[in-house]
C-alpha cells in the first residue's frame, strides 16, 4: 500500500486523464452515434448506406488498429493529428460512435410498432413521428445499453496507454516498471481506480434497466 501512497499524484493524474478522455470522447461519440442512428433509419438509401458502412467498418476493426491508423498511417499522407490526447479522443469517439449508433438504433426498433403506426395515422410526418413519438420512448430503453457503451469506453481509454498518452494504465505501468518487485501492487492500484468507475456505473445501468422493464 505504501507504493500506491507514494505514487498517489501519478495515479491521480492518470485517473484525471482517463476521466477526461472518457467524458470528451463519450460526448462526441453520443452526438455522432445518434446522428448515425438517425441516418440508418432515414428513407434515403445513400445516407443509410454510408452510415451502415461506417458502423460495420468500425465495429469489425480493433480499437488498436484505429489508433495505429491515426498515429502511424495518417501522417504518411500529410494528416498530422495532434499527438497524444487529441489523437486518443478522435480514435475513441470514432470507434465508440459505431456502438452508440447500434444501441440507439436497437432502442428505436424496440419501440412497439403500434406507436409509429398511430403517429402516422394521425398524420404526423416522418420527422414528427421520430421526434415526438418514437425517440422519447426509445431514449428510455436506450439509456442502460448506452451506459454499458460508456463503461466499455472508460475501459477502452486504456488502449491510449500504448500510444503516448499517460492515462491511468500507462501511469500504473510506469510505477510497476520502476518497482519491479512490487509490480502487482502497482497494477492493483490501477485496478481499484477503474473499478471505482465501472462497478457503480454498471450497477446504475442494472437499476435503470429494471426500472424501464417494470414501467413497460
Amino acid at each position: 500500500m505504501d507504493l500506491i501512497a507514494d505514487n498517489l499524484p501519478a495515479y491521480l493524474n492518470g485517473f484525471r486523464l482517463t476521466l477526461q478522455l472518457t467524458l470528451l470522447a463519450g460526448a462526441l461519440a453520443l452526438v455522432v452515434g445518434t446522428v448515425l442512428a438517425a441516418l440508418r433509419v432515414s428513407p434515403l438509401p445513400t445516407l443509410r448506406g454510408a452510415a451502415v458502412a461506417w458502423v460495420e467498418l468500425l465495429r469489425n476493426t480493433p480499437l488498436t488498429l484505429v489508433f495505429f491508423f491515426l498515429v502511424f498511417v495518417a501522417p504518411q499522407f500529410g494528416i498530422l493529428p495532434p499527438l497524444g490526447f487529441w489523437t486518443a479522443v478522435i480514435a475513441l469517439s470514432a470507434y465508440t460512435s459505431a456502438f452508440v449508433c447500434e444501441a440507439v438504433r436497437s432502442g428505436i426498433n424496440g419501440v412497439p410498432v403500434g406507436q409509429a403506426e398511430a403517429a402516422r395515422a394521425i398524420g404526423l410526418t416522418f420527422g414528427q413521428t421520430l421526434g415526438l413519438v418514437v425517440l422519447p420512448q426509445a431514449v428510455r430503453s436506450v439509456v442502460p445499453p448506452l451506459i454499458n457503451v460508456l463503461i466499455a469506453l472508460a475501459k477502452n481509454t486504456s488502449v491510449a496507454a500504448g500510444f503516448a498518452v499517460v492515462e491511468l494504465t500507462a501511469a500504473g505501468r510506469r510505477v510497476a516498471l520502476a518497482n519491479p518487485a512490487e509490480a502487482i501492487q502497482a497494477l492493483a492500484g490501477v485496478a481499484v481506480f477503474y473499478l471505482v468507475l465501472t462497478i457503480p456505473a454498471g450497477y446504475l445501468a442494472g437499476v435503470l434497466e429494471r426500472k424501464v422493464a417494470f414501467a413497460r
Binding site: V41, P43, P62, T64, F68, F69, A103, G162, L177, T198
Partner: protein, 298 residues
Amino acid sequence: MSSVLYDQPGPRARRRERIGSVAGALALIVLLALAYRYAEQRGLFGADRWDVLYDPPKNQTAEDVWRSMVVVGLGATLRAAVVAAPLALVLGLVLAMWRTTRIGWLRAPATVVIELFRGLPVLLMMLFALLGFGWDAFAAVVFGLTVYNMAIIAEILRAGLASLPRGQSEAAAAIGLSRWQTMRLVLLPQAVRTMLPSLVAQLVVLLKDSSLGFIVGYPELLKAMQNNAQYFGNRYYVALFVLGAGTYLVVNLSLTRLAVWLQGRSARTAGRSGTDPALTAAAAATAGGGPGGTGSAV
C-alpha cells in the same frame, strides 16, 4: 424496403426521396473526390507507395511480405485467440454454473470474480501477467483475453439460463433428475443454443482484443505491419495498413455473418419448439451480447 416510420411513398414523396438520395449521394461523391484529390496530390497512389505488395525493394519478394503479414502476423493473432477462446468458454461455463447454485454464500466468490474481471480493461490484465507474474508476451495476451472473456461469457450464459421457462427445471425435477443432471441434460443445452449468437459475437470481440498484444510486445498482425514499414520505409505504411486492416475485416466480418446466420436459425427453431423468441431476444439484450453487442467490446 418499407418501414413503419414512413408510408409507402407516393409519387411526390418518391420524387422528393430520389432528389434527397441523389443530393446525399452527390455530397458523398464530392467528399470522396476531395479526399481522392488530396491523397493523389500527396502521391498516395504512386507505384512507389504500393510496390511493397507486389514488387518490394531490398531484394525481397512479394511472397515474403504477404507471408510475414497474412501467415505469420495473422497466424500469431489467431493463435492467441484460438488458445484463449476455449479456455474462456470452459471457465465461463464453470463460473455461470457456480453463480447459479442454490446456496447463497457459495455464489458470492463467483459474483466477485465476474464483477472484478468485467470491470477492468483487458490491457491492464495483460500487464498484470506481463509485469506482475513475469510471463512472456504470448502468455500475457492469452491470460488477458481469457480472464476478461470468461467473465463476459459467464454473464451471457447466466442470462441464457435465466431466460429458460421455469417449467424446464420443474419437469426435469419431476422425472427425478438430480440438480447436476438437470443442468447438464436440460438447462445448459438450451441456454447455450439460445445464446450461441451472443457467444460468437463475443469471440469476435476476443479476436479484436488480441490486437492489444501490439502494446504488450506480442508480435501479431499490427506488429507485422509496423515491422514491414520500418524495414521497407515509412512510405509503405498506407499499403501495409490496407492489407492488414483488410485481413482483420475479412476475418471479423465472416465471424459476424456467422453470428447473424446463427441468430436467424435459432430464432426459427425457437419459434418451432415453443420457446418465446421475444424472451430469448430480451435475454440476449440484457447480456449486452448479440451481434450488436456493445457492453463488452474493446
